[in-house]
């Protein structure tokens, strides 16, 4: 059951990758290039393209509806991906425990699944320092997952710093939304 979900997900990613590459004429990004128009989307989905055994031309595509994927089913806690933090804190608050536990369980059951934990910070302060602040938060979530037996090889803790922050915040409620960790599964 789980395997078929994974396959459908891979298939979806593969088709998306093919569709994207079909309309792109530029070479892959890691090639030396001076002024190249890059689409990171191609990169994010590129790993799926190596799973050629999935096959690209099947009739099952339409059935791979999003609701079949627990990670994106809005009724499933796994679709909740953001953990918020108090000002200047990197402690995972109690209210996010069920969310962290659900993802830990999913990762334990899907040994090939990998998550990117993307830390974020509000826009106050310098970009590089905020990158490090966001990292502290993603590391806190990583440690919570580790305590729930998720292996290091399935987790990468990184940070976007303030780069994804809502800018020009006028109040604390706005800043609060920027102090978070987003859980992003590989291939998403």
């Amino acid at each position: 059951m789980n395997k078929s979900i994974l396959n459908k997900k891979l298939l979806g990613s593969l088709l998306l990758a093919m569709a994207l590459s079909a309309c792109k004429s530029t070479p892959m990004v890691d090639k030396p290039a001076s002024v190249e128009d890059k689409s990171p989307k191609t990169e994010a989905t590129a790993p799926a393209a190596s799973a050629t055994d999935t096959g690209a031309d099947t009739s099952g595509v339409k059935d791979a509806s999003l609701s079949g994927n627990p990670l994106t089913d809005p009724n499933n806690i796994l679709s909740k991906r953001s953990i918020y933090f108090d000002f200047d804190k990197d402690t995972v608050r109690e209210e996010f425990r069920p969310l962290v536990e659900a993802h830990a369980k999913y990762l334990a059951e899907h040994g090939n699944a990998k998550v990117n934990l993307q830390g974020n910070a509000d826009e106050r302060g310098t970009r590089e320092y905020n990158l490090s602040l966001g990292q502290r938060r993603s590391v806190a979530v990583k440690k919570s997952l580790n305590l729930l037996s998720v292996q290091d090889k399935q987790i990468e803790a990184v940070s976007y710093g303030e780069e994804k922050a809502t800018s020009n915040c006028k109040d604390e409620a706005c800043h609060q939304l920027n102090r978070r960790v987003d859980i992003v599964y590989e291939g998403e």
Binding site: P32, Q118, T126, E128, V158
Partner: protein
Amino acid sequence: MKKLFKILQPALFFIAAFVPAMTSTAAYAALEIEISGGSAQQIPIAIVPFGQAAGASQEKIGDIIAADLRRSGLFRILETGGVASRPTEVSQVKYAEWAVLQAQAITVGNVTALPGNRLKVTFGLADVLKQNQLVSMEYNIAPNQLRLTAHKIADVIYQKLTGEGPIFASRIAYINKSKNRFSLQVADADGMNAQTVVSSSEPIISPAWSPDGSKIAYVSFEKKKPIIFVQSLTTGQRLTLANFKGNNSAPAWSPDGTKLAIVLSHSANSQLYTINADGTGLKQVTKSNAIDTEPTWSPDAKWIYFTSDRGGNPQVYKVSAFGGEAQRVTFQGDHNLSPHFSPDGKSLAMVRKDGAKYSIALQDLTNGQVRLLSEGAQDESPSFAPNGRVILYATRVGGRGALAAVSSDGRVKQRLSESGGDIREPSWGPLLN
């Protein structure tokens, strides 16, 4: 005492108007420069329009020189329209005519065509009171080097009359965010000739010039995490300098360009490392449980100054470039971050937080004195001009990112903005050859 010059840049506006579709290769920015303040004793100088061979170029070399000198805040450019004569070499100057304008100095020059699509640019600088020539130069150039040559001439005048080192023949790098696309751009120090080095729909931050100006290191999120790249500005080739697990960020070149200080997190907190410019030879410099980031090298290459919150709040520390115990450097202000060295190694520009305000501060490393150079409230990313006289930094205007510059004595301020653009993360590069 608040003067405000507004220099629009018609050449770039002109180009931008005819290139509406700013696509992949080159996006032309129209940076508008506003200057306020100025030295109490501005040098009055007459810049006579250069003699220019018909069809040689549409660029007015004298205007480029005048704009450079005016932007420094140290010169008063005299109106020359009232003087009938148009000397093109110092021997033709009738000093009495220019003494009437109360000119202290006069610049004359000529552009002529040479065989093989080359240009000969000559110029002379004279002291009007002493009635003698101070310097004369001759350049044999390709037509596309005319602007650069004008900046070099402005540098010669500036050096001769102020005693300061050259500044105008240099470039700046910055990130331009437009329509959710991030572009690392390089422009002349006067904001002209903006060209895109790399662009992505994911953020790009922390551009850093190699000391010889041939490469730029930067942090790109194009693979959904911060990775450091080094890209050649001459060949366009780029190298993935650091792509380790976790974050790879804050590149800073060693003074000799052979190494970079970088920040890696692996699976924990940000720490300082050094790495060879080809990506080999990674060495850890700091080992703390705190955030250590934003490294900058002292010009003698012995020290790496950086931001750390090991004492509770972010402050500037220094550590031997080979590792060891760190020592705290900053003690004033709530926070101090993002240190950058002056070229002479005597002072440190940084971001200082007081209350909710982030502004640019300058700390004299010989006596510890700190001077605030900007008002904030969200100023960051300071870097020095090649001669140390000006500090370029990022600010916000109307919710958008803009660049600003302030003289190291705090007297002259400039603001560079692009209409509709959101520009940030500036870095002033070395002098051009």
